[in-house]
Amino acid sequence: MSSDHWRRAGAALAVAALLAYPLAASSPYYLDIGVTVLLAAISASAWNILGGFAGQVSVGHGMFFGVGAYLPLLVYTLWGWPPMAGIPLGMLLAVGLAALIGAPTLRLTGHYFSMATIAVAELIRILVGTWGLVGAAIGLQGPATARGWWDLTFRDETPYYYIFLGVLAGVLALTHALQGRRLGYYMRAVKAGEAAARSLGVASRRTKLAALALSASLTALAGSLYVLKTGFVDPDSGFGILVSVQMVIVAALGGAGTLYGPLVGALILIPAQSWANSWLGGGGSGLTFVLYGGIIVLVARFEPGGLFELRRRMLRWRPERSRAA
């Protein structure tokens, strides 16, 4: 078979495995890990559009995640609406926020852009934490028990799994489509060299702004899905720096700027995190974070391009060796 056939067979197998996982998961705990993996993959894929493809490394994407997480519970708390009614509002607000903060921050490049995004995200976290309408520091709660299916509050996590899987497929399809469009090429041009891209007639600010807006709305969607599952959000779990950092790490581990990198990163990092905490956390030694930090250090030191880069290198290396033999 040609490598293309292998690739297709592999992809079909991966899709089948993802679809069948809830049937194979022996307990709600393993199902929960699966749901968490999908959620991390969605948010990292959303981040990847701006941070990976357009090369603008935001470390403040928690602000969009938080907006997406707060809106569903806000419409529920204020007016008793089903939380999912807040999802489009959250995505819209995230786009608005992206336009507002994008104009000044996207003028910055490199580390300065990253620092500005951290600052804005922290600012929003603090503001939300003191704003009574959105629950201030205490946060917001969803319906404790479902009033109907439309509350999307399930006893069993299987429906979440398939909803999340569907959303992930949508996000990946959108990203894939983007790669072949003008915006996708512009984004890669801006990443490769902004001055060069501009000299070729790429409207770099508009491109970056479009990437930010798209990335922000999808990140907000991830936040909404998170809150449907947990039914609770407070400033730290919505806007906290760890939320932002996780997106970066997941995408970087798998390969930022590649289509499947965030999914691969989530498939490795989230189970490792969960299992490390389950096995080591109860002892109170903090080894969980040693392991987590260790993975990051290893990737940064040996394979900053992520696991996809590693795979590509291994693929290239194999034929050469066979030739040599």
């Binding site: 929960d32 709660q141 490792a272 389950s278």
Partner: protein, 433 residues
């Protein structure tokens, strides 16, 4: 495809080496893990407990874990002298043929999502018969929902957010007091002082601005209003700030008769140092546990904070009392006294163990029924509640808190009078001895 067209670094066996280096420590780790899984006897009763063992509140979580582990030891082995405590003197759970309690501890990292996942794991993988938690109210809200769906009883030992109980959950029980209980205690204390002829015309509330400070301050404002005590100001601040002069100067200008601090540790110490520098001391300072109860408070701020009042449900008490005997056991092991938080955890554990014993079964619904029927008098507890009896929402209606005052290098119980072991010093002397 785009990803194939990009330039790459030189091909080499480096790729394989990297893979090995990535995997080696992980494999080693997993191999170690397989060895250290503890063995257990057949008739053991497994209880799951989730604490914040890493993160901002790791200190409190570790201390809670120490207390709960000592609690399990007290239940599992004979401790003559603790006859008044249910399960204190004998070994194991007589209701289950002498079965021992095994703790299954987990770390929720102060993260609601992790708390939910660990609760699911303990229930569905480790098959614990009941849960204990959580410290963070945010984690408690999410973890109790997970246990509710699985139909496993969850005892909340110390999280204070009002809405953890009262959401219609059938499997949640809270032994400890909630924010309105503390606030009521302060208001009653101030009213008693007023009746005794002390001047309490206005108070100020100074609170750190995250969920803890915000929710307790709101309860205090409500209780003060009910009691007819004027609030001169509520001053929220950032506990991580490096300077509190502005807040202290504001207090100095307002001259309230009492200041209530809802503060963490470093900021509490900073407040006392700043008050001394600016020479401002109100007649009465009340601290809401947290920073005032931290083991580092007395060594660092004790000489400046003479007469500061603090709340606690735990008081070491007189020799012969349950609290005194248990504190001796704890001190022998960990070289420090039990504090309010760890004592509340231990009491929560004892209530759960007693219910499992009375249930005579590890079936969750039997334990739930036994928890509902819990009726413990104050002499059967190791903490200063008036008893343990749950209402239909699962809240302990006899939960209580007391006020203690820093006199010398330790706290003494000063209010209410029937619990007092010393007389209240008024006004406080602070650093002016």
């Amino acid at each position: 495809m785009y990803d194939k067209s990009r330039g790459m670094s030189g091909p080499s066996p480096e790729g394989r080496e990297t893979m090995n280096e990535l995997l080696r420590p992980v494999a080693l780790l997993f191999a170690c893990l397989a060895v250290i899984q503890p063995a257990r006897a057949a008739d053991d009763v497994k209880i799951g407990a989730i604490y914040p063992l890493t993160g901002n509140s790791a200190g409190a979580g570790q201390s809670a874990k120490d207390a709960v582990e000592l609690g399990a030891e007290i239940v599992n082995s004979p401790h003559p002298g603790l006859e008044k405590l249910p399960l204190g003197a004998g070994a194991g759970l007589p209701g289950l043929g002498g079965g021992k309690i095994v703790l299954d501890n987990a770390d929720h990292q102060g993260n609601p999502q992790v708390g939910q996942q660990q609760t699911l794991r303990l229930i569905t993988e480790d098959h614990v018969v009941a849960m204990l938690g959580c410290y963070h109210s945010s984690v408690a809200l999410v973890a109790t929902a997970a246990a509710e769906r699985q139909g496993i009883p969850f005892v909340i030992a110390d999280s204070v957010a009002l809405n953890i109980t009262g959401r219609g959950f059938k499997w949640v029980f809270r032994t400890g007091p909630i924010a309105p209980d503390f606030a009521k205690a302060y208001a009653e204390f101030l009213t008693d002082l007023r009746k005794g002829g002390k001047k309490i015309d206005s108070i100020a509330v100074v609170n750190e601005n995250t969920d803890y400070g915000t929710s307790v301050a709101a309860s205090i404002l409500a209780a003060a209003k009910t009691a007819g005590i004027a609030v001169a100001a509520q001053i929220p601040y950032d506990a991580n700030g490096a300077d509190v002069s502005a807040q202290v100067l504001q207090l100095k200008g307002l001259k309230p008769d009492a200041v209530i601090f809802v503060s963490y540790t470093a900021d509490t110490i900073l407040y006392f140092k700043t008050m001394k520098n600016l020479d401002y001391l109100p007649p009465l300072i009340i601290g809401d546990d947290a920073g005032f109860s931290d083991p580092s408070f007395i060594p660092n701020a004790g000489p400046l904070a003479q007469g500061a009042v603090n709340r606690s449900a735990f008081d070491i008490g007189a020799p012969g009392s349950n609290s005194y005997a248990i504190n001796q056991l704890f001190n022998a092991k960990h070289h420090r006294d039990l504090d309010d938080t760890s004592a509340r955890w231990m009491q929560g554990f004892f209530v759960l163990a007693d219910a499992i014993n009375r249930a005579g079964s590890t079936a969750p619904d039997k334990i739930q029924a036994a928890l509902r029927a819990t009726d413990l008098g104050p002499d059967r507890l190791m903490i200063g509640y008036r008893g343990v009896k749950f209402d239909e929402t699962g809240q302990n209606t006899l939960s209580a808190t007391y006020l203690i005052q820093l006199q010398g290098d330790h706290y003494v119980s000063v209010w209410p009078e029937d619990r007092a072991t010393a007389k209240l010093q008024w006004p406080m002397t602070g650093w002016r001895q």
